[in-house]
Symmetry: C2
Subunit: 405 residues, 2 copies
Amino acid sequence: MATPGAGAEPLAIQQPEYDERVRRVRQALAERGLDALVLFHPIRMAYVAGFFHLQTERPIALVVPVDGDLGVLVPHLERLQGSALAGVGHVKTYPEYPTGGTKHPMEHLRDLLSEMGLAGKRLGYDHDGHHDVNSYDGPPLSEVFEGHTERARDIVDTLRLVKSENELRLIRESARWGDLAHRTMHERVTLGCSPLAVSIAASADASLAMIAALGPGYRPRTIGNGTPALVRFKAGANTLVQHGAIAGHGVRRGDVLVTYAIADVGGYHSELERTMIVGEPNDDFVKYFELMVRLQQVAFGALKPGRPLAEAEAEVCRAYEDLGAARFQQHHSGHGLGLEGHEAPFIDKGDERLIQENMVVSVEPGLYVPGLAGFRHSDTAVVKAGGAEPITTYPRDLTSLTVRV
Amino acid sequence: MATPGAGAEPLAIQQPEYDERVRRVRQALAERGLDALVLFHPIRMAYVAGFFHLQTERPIALVVPVDGDLGVLVPHLERLQGSALAGVGHVKTYPEYPTGGTKHPMEHLRDLLSEMGLAGKRLGYDHDGHHDVNSYDGPPLSEVFEGHTERARDIVDTLRLVKSENELRLIRESARWGDLAHRTMHERVTLGCSPLAVSIAASADASLAMIAALGPGYRPRTIGNGTPALVRFKAGANTLVQHGAIAGHGVRRGDVLVTYAIADVGGYHSELERTMIVGEPNDDFVKYFELMVRLQQVAFGALKPGRPLAEAEAEVCRAYEDLGAARFQQHHSGHGLGLEGHEAPFIDKGDERLIQENMVVSVEPGLYVPGLAGFRHSDTAVVKAGGAEPITTYPRDLTSLTVRV
């Protein structure tokens, strides 16, 4: 097995890129006549300022003013992380959630905004207050702040749509480790094995290889409780259900497997999915497998810069119809990837945004054949002039994806 | 190592208990003059109807009318899960998110509400529309629905505060596997080991033992990408940071470790945390360790039914002051546990709710001594007449928690 190698570049976004992101946020604020942007979503804070943290019931907010130092609201116990952030000049801590006393964290946020000279000014927000997570309860920002507020999360989300060279590098590195996790799993599938047990063991072994290779500087960023590299698979009838929990029954000869591998490198994700067969495939399997592979090729080619995503998706849908497979389609052809495993844009008839070079998307048209199985390859791909080019390189052909038992 | 054993009872909430939860939701709706409750949060749907699913950008909603069949909104690809739910008589599917065509999922939700006879009626919701997750964007429920809407998530969250006998059984079973994960990690800590590597390997091994013992019926429910049993630890100065990412540097003699172990049984969680020392502790360590253990004992005793949580927390805070440790306190004494790892109620000066028998909380007063380390045990405890009784049984004493190197 080839061991993926880390490059010489650090596997994280560096400060100059965060500075540039902040500059672009400020530019958008100025264009809209807003005095500051208040972010509550952890991924948006990570994107803008490298502030990676676990979201809980304790509100955390990042304030990006149109000029001057950034501000953060953090619970007392997270003050060290908050004050270590570059560019932050205002750190407001509160004792606890619900209050640790008498004053709600959102009132402390109002104080922070006043200290930053923003009282009565015009604020954009990504979400009107802290999210509905871990029983958090509290007033929206628009209620505690006396001044104009408006929804402006697209300021950050628009920047996230197209990836920088550094982001692409992290996503490519992620793909290498997703590939290793997938290979580790592939080698362990045997008759009677438990999909859950094989997934757990392969994820651990691939993750241990990954962190050993990446060295002591590696930090998991956006995987929550997951392993740094992670692989899972579903077998048999379970493959008809896209996001269902994986069951523990044993793999049987003739089972179709649908797999899923990801890895977290500097907080960035890739996605790799393969449809596999245990033992010799029958004619039905071969037919749908090859249809699915053809549809994926259509999708790669359809993702050309300058046309709307909806138009690319319409082209894939026409291919489903031309191939007599429209009744087996259950979902659109893919979604964006970056700091989140699913993020905008979407390869969907309802997404009218233009395809741009260096967008990163999953390409995964699927076929779900009742009574038989689900068929789906998913590759992480970067949009280039001629279409989407896969970053994930795991073999896509039937011979490679047949488990010999 | 003793192997925890699963009981004869199924390790999941059974239908009669879901029926009872729905009955209590309907009763609360009737008392408030509401015709239905619309739930968007996956944990609340799991609680009320056993509808466990992964939340993504594709909205899912559960509608509980004051009488009659339940309704669900699901994307086409999840229709099998949606229609398999007990008590559901109305399943509305939409093609995709953003639309898969022209109509936003929230408009399909409006259609579902009409089909259920709820047009123009009075609705409660847990959140005003689908959450801000994976770049989802869409109108709030209050905008698409022509009729009265109001926030009523407390109808479900209030039910969740006190655990049933079955919930307690699942949390106890979870605690057994968290204990095994912790023990597996404990046995592997050596000088120079990577906290991240040991955490990954121990989590995998404990999870493999867990799923083998619980049998093929075991399904992970609420752990996302995590392993069924999971353990982590931080070493040295990292212990001063509560929710920081764990770094990969090697464990050194004299390091303080703060650990964290959880497990998912039927979707229910327990939490086990221990403060450990690598090699012989020095006097400073012993002093703060013993202070922390004393504070935890105070907290167990303070959690008596019938008094407000705020009063119990005030008693713990007085103990911090009496022991001269107030300046090392960074957070309140604990939080509820159930389907989420953190949930209401909170042992906090701002939580005026009354303590009730069979509430389940973490009990974890901590000390964070600048320049030295963080000190925190966390036990999952159930409130009984005389105070909170720990469910987690891992040793709490210094001798047991000293890593011999």
